[in-house]
Subunit: 438 residues, 2 copies
Amino acid sequence: MSENGPADAWDRLRALPMGTLVELTTADGARWRGAVVPPHEMSGDRVLQLKLPTGYNVGVRVGPTDQVTIVEAAPLNGNGGSTPSKTRPSSATGPWIGLLTTGGTIASRVDYRTGGVRPVREESEILGFYPDLERDGPVRVVPVFDRLSEEIGPPDWEEMARRTVDTFSKGASGVVVAHGTDTLAYTSAALSFLLEDLPGPVVLVGAQRSPDRPSSDGFTNLTAAVTLARHPELAEVVVVMHDGLSDDRFAIHRGTRVRKMHSSRRDAFRSRNGPPIGWIEGSTVHLVHPFRPRSTGSPRYTGPMGTGATILWFHPGLEPSRAEAFVAGARGVVIAGTGLGHVALSHLGWIKSAVARGTTVVMTTQCLEGVADPFVYATGRELARAGVLYAGDMLPETAYVKLLWALGRSDDPHAVAELMKTPKAGETEGRHEAEDHP
Amino acid sequence: MSENGPADAWDRLRALPMGTLVELTTADGARWRGAVVPPHEMSGDRVLQLKLPTGYNVGVRVGPTDQVTIVEAAPLNGNGGSTPSKTRPSSATGPWIGLLTTGGTIASRVDYRTGGVRPVREESEILGFYPDLERDGPVRVVPVFDRLSEEIGPPDWEEMARRTVDTFSKGASGVVVAHGTDTLAYTSAALSFLLEDLPGPVVLVGAQRSPDRPSSDGFTNLTAAVTLARHPELAEVVVVMHDGLSDDRFAIHRGTRVRKMHSSRRDAFRSRNGPPIGWIEGSTVHLVHPFRPRSTGSPRYTGPMGTGATILWFHPGLEPSRAEAFVAGARGVVIAGTGLGHVALSHLGWIKSAVARGTTVVMTTQCLEGVADPFVYATGRELARAGVLYAGDMLPETAYVKLLWALGRSDDPHAVAELMKTPKAGETEGRHEAEDHP
């Protein structure tokens, strides 16, 4: 339907429900087609925010004589941005996905006063950015908290895990966790250890650009995550993010084997020590590597996390006394050693003392790929003799998260060591051949 | 010339000079062709060590009736393994390369008593492993020390830098530093800052497998490094290691932008935040990106390094008091923050105190690629306001090494900050576009 009327184009546009699909032809001949999304508070007068078919948003300055065509009314089931999900018609039926929001760029926008990015506070604002999320079935938003991910810590992991169990218990067929990208991989590892007997996928997703920016990856990532969350077989904790720089391919990373490898690229997340479990292209999920299937039991929370552990990055010139001060009072420490898992032997003293005090000392490699292996060089053998646990091909971050989890389950260092050595959530595949990666 | 005699094959082989090219046909029909290299002390009786044309070594058990053919006598200019370079004929003329040996796998061998790897102690043994190194001109060995690289620290960097200057001063046209791989990239960054006005290339090289193992990459890497050290134009500190898993392509990494990214792969070294400067294929050097050319001045040592700095890996759950204890008394700290360079704001307190005490606090990203940028999120702006220096796209390790170097040049935190902000050795290319990498 076309409604080119004589009124000021801006006045007509302002009156449209969020989600209305419009075509706008400006006086200089540019033509924009997209869904109306909420304006920025600071975008100024006469700037229309449109979500383009690519998922990108654009702000267009509207002149009085611009031509406006309404292509399609806002979807009936809401989510056009002005309607919080709790007031949506309950007619949406079929299996539903729980969307846990925790803050982060995927739920942030540029603050035009400061030029920085601030979290979006309103649930309606979040859904306003992401029309079409319910294309294949209902999505229920579960606000957990609103935090930039560098502020998220172990108690928050516990909260997310409990809310995930709760959401499954209420009938969700899958759960999506929207999360800041900074510590997304720490959280995905934590949920991998904290959740057992999952009845469906737990998909963590983030965005490297806020959803109101033209280059935002939030829409495409979230759509892919919801698609995967509807998968009938997969039932483990995974991360879904862009794979490469195109908009149509997303990698499915195992929660315990993924790392943010670039501070800003959309394809920053990479599986380490093995390929992703699979990929999502459009609405098709390709699972090409083994995955954990749906459990017939009830989902279980295996927390709490322990406390008092840390990660020590060994480096040339690190004074043993400084390392010792860092680890003082800790129940556990993950060392990111060099190469196959080495430190200068001048550190043997404090390491032995720490082990003798009951501190669990875990060795990983700061290379971030390949194994930590004590049996190749004399240094490794010395450290293993001193009681250092070598973590194989576990990422330092994953080893740290697993250590916290193990410390939460036992006060006995021997039991903690056994938990560390026992594979639990795909976090290690044991010893790799040196060059078995493509 | 063929000399199949009736004597026991083993007795004949034992009498040959190191470096003799032989062909051995064993009783079971296997045929081996290669240069004789020194035996292991523990390889046992009747085991011949051969360096194959691929550069790989193999140990072959020799039966009394095996057929031995001498294909070519040991090269006249020695280096067959039994002749230390200092006693070689001085007839070798033309530009020479200084090969500084510092220990590490490239100068190690498997200790068959323990199954581990031990350093090779004898210069002759080192050269014995690497015949043909002088194919294109003389190489003079300069033993610096004999250390596994996890034991190498800032004073050793100073020693290597001084010995490099010294070697150039004695007339070398290029310098190769053979070094363990664990901390090779820290050393390459250190030499990049410690050396100025270089008259030729300084090429660091290592091996992921010891030279007596069939899969050793020592020979091919070292040959490529010597090839590059003869380059007539390049005059900066670089790392040369396998590029990919073939034996004929080597990457030339800038010394300040390289990282060991796998604990055991031969192509573990990767340039970060940009491509390698170039590649070496066979004896051809392809320099495809800008490089620092030969200086007409005299090479200068810009040390010493300062002391009292460290790297702190921020992670969820890191207690501010633990971080504060770690940094206590430090003159500088490089934080490997999350994403664009963030920490939980609960750490602002100790960071502000440290800055107030004159500690230089530098922010990098634990992603290891992309920039640390304070201007995108409120957290970054808070940290920058607190006096944290954002290091752009500098690697955490490079920022740490540069910080030590800057602390060695000034006691004034303002001067240290200026040094940190001023590009010196290609360690940063400033702000990258978010997705400008292939």
